[in-house]
Symmetry: C2
Subunit: 331 residues, 2 copies
């Protein structure tokens, strides 16, 4: 299907200029880079600055989470390709007024490599810098059943919790520790009803017959581990809630934060129908939900599908940080 672009090679560049135009009161783009930063970076003075990023195609991730109480900057690469270590390093260098810098990295080999190279270089310059690696995807590899542990929609919960904690003045080591605890208590599972395709291309990323659903898809067009017929939203919610609840043996001992994430072309009506089914199942299971989000937070271009994230709120401060204010436009 035709999409509203000019040409494939300029689309990321042009869309970042569009972001800077629409949100010009709060955000600005560093020209000719994938960096979107807060206009008021001086407010990070003496605090920890948070930087995240990754390939494009996941909009509004990550620039939609740049703002007071979340990220100080995001770095976007080409579609499904992480930004270079040089650009990540350039973003870090903008944080000279911050006391320390924390990188939030999605667990994909190329992303981890580029971010850690940039971190190493910044350390040599004297930056106090560290990172957390988000690996909330609890889907498994077809065959080996090994957990894939990619970084997916739960990354946005990490942006929010650590962003609010950083704004409150927490130190780099406190944030790293908190981030790792949050990540250890978070799981996400995604499904696709249609793979979608990279904007500007015509080939579907993977094949899925009409009426079939793929469990455990990634956010870069990776096929899932199991295909089965789609029965209903309720059936789907049942599968996902059961699988996510099974990741932890003490899920009923704590409140839960959940995120229902549209993967691109899933309508808001579908997201809310699914949310309602999730609600009923959690109620039946006696699982308490203290925090809820539904929307398009971490997409996979125009994939039709949804992901569900569970974060077990083991520390009550996490809920406070989730509920804290932010002016980032996509939260």
């Amino acid at each position: 299907m035709t999409q509203i672009i000019n040409n494939k090679q300029d689309m990321v560049d042009q869309s970042l200029d569009g972001v800077a135009f629409i949100h010009k009161h709060r955000l600005e783009r560093v020209a000719k880079t994938g960096i979107i930063k807060r206009r008021d970076l001086q407010s990070v003075r003496g605090k920890v600055a948070l930087i995240s990023g990754g390939g494009s195609g996941h909009e509004p991730a990550h620039f939609g989470y740049v703002g007071a109480g979340m990220l100080s900057a995001s770095v976007s690469g080409p579609v499904f390709v992480p930004p270079s270590s040089a650009e990540i390093y350039q973003a870090i260098q903008l944080m000279k007024e911050a006391s320390e810098v924390l990188l939030i990295i999605k667990n994909f080999e190329a992303d981890v490599r580029e971010f850690l190279l940039a971190e190493k270089k910044a350390k040599q310059d004297g930056f106090l810098i560290d990172h957390v690696i988000v690996d909330d995807d609890c889907s498994v590899e077809e065959g080996s059943l090994k957990k894939r542990r990619r970084g997916v929609a739960g990354t946005v919960f990490v942006h929010k919790i650590l962003g609010a904690a950083a704004a409150e003045g927490k130190s780099l080591s406190e944030l790293k520790e908190m981030g790792e605890e949050v990540i250890a208590n978070m799981n996400t599972l995604g499904v696709a009803l249609h793979s979608g395709k990279i904007t500007g291309e015509t080939k579907e990323l993977f094949q899925l017959s009409e009426g079939q659903i793929s469990f455990g898809i990634g956010i870069h067009g990776e096929a899932g581990y199991r295909v089965e017929p789609f029965y209903s939203s309720e059936y789907l919610a049942n599968e996902l809630v059961n699988k996510l609840a099974a990741q932890s043996d003490d899920i009923k001992a704590h409140d839960l934060a959940i995120m229902i994430n549209g993967l691109g072309s899933t309508t808001a009506m579908e997201q809310f129908i699914f949310a309602n089914d999730v609600q009923r199942l959690l109620q039946l299971e006696g699982i308490q939900v203290a925090f809820r989000k539904a929307g398009n937070f971490m997409t996979s271009t125009n994939m039709a599908g949804i992901s569900l994230s569970f974060l077990i709120l083991k520390d009550t401060s996490w809920l406070t940080y989730l509920e804290a204010g932010t002016d980032s436009f996509a939260w």
Copy 2:
């Protein structure tokens, strides 16, 4: 394409329960109705309460605009069918603590009929109540070239400006007058690259060949007035900016507020690319933009397409009201 629903007849009902679940800290649903209302309705005491609504299929409109500084309640009907006058009347009755009530109606015959019937009944009960009718669509009828003047995405600007003015304590007559001035200075034009279809149905709402674009589509699957090949985002922006600018002879004398609205399955990347093209054209034309929004504000189920709205800011207070805070989740 399969969608995440349970069955067609329950989908609106179930999605409204989903909305109430996800946003339970601020919103609640009046059981078995299409009414979503603020939990803290007591804060409207002594002020004008704003109510809007219409058929479903336009999510997040209108429940996404219920909150402090915007609507007090929204009323959703079946997909593309307005709520009954009885349900609108029921929503009005919840506003007993408000001093007065203003209905914001999209200009479709059936919507106007149901809302005005409810208004009449409420007046008989002694309510101080009035309405504005939003007709921002400046597309024309094929053949007659008569302007259709339907109410489309600009309705959200009316929610925001009047909502903020009502929260500030403006009276019903002041709000009606301001609303009519805002509406008189607002135009919207939409295009589709793919008609989409009603959730739960398989038939496309209208036929559009691959690579074709339909100008002047409605938000209920109404075909546009002209089909032509899609060339580029820039070409499209040029068409829309020119047509919208031509609606007014003093557009350069004032600041402009613009809204880029995704119609359902248009990705955020496309919206921002289009935003960038709009920015460049407005700059060339010497038109000043003081306020910008891009996102899915008023959809047409899963239509692929976009609308552009221009509001000429003839009164500087309108900008203040657009920029005022709100906790409605879709603004």
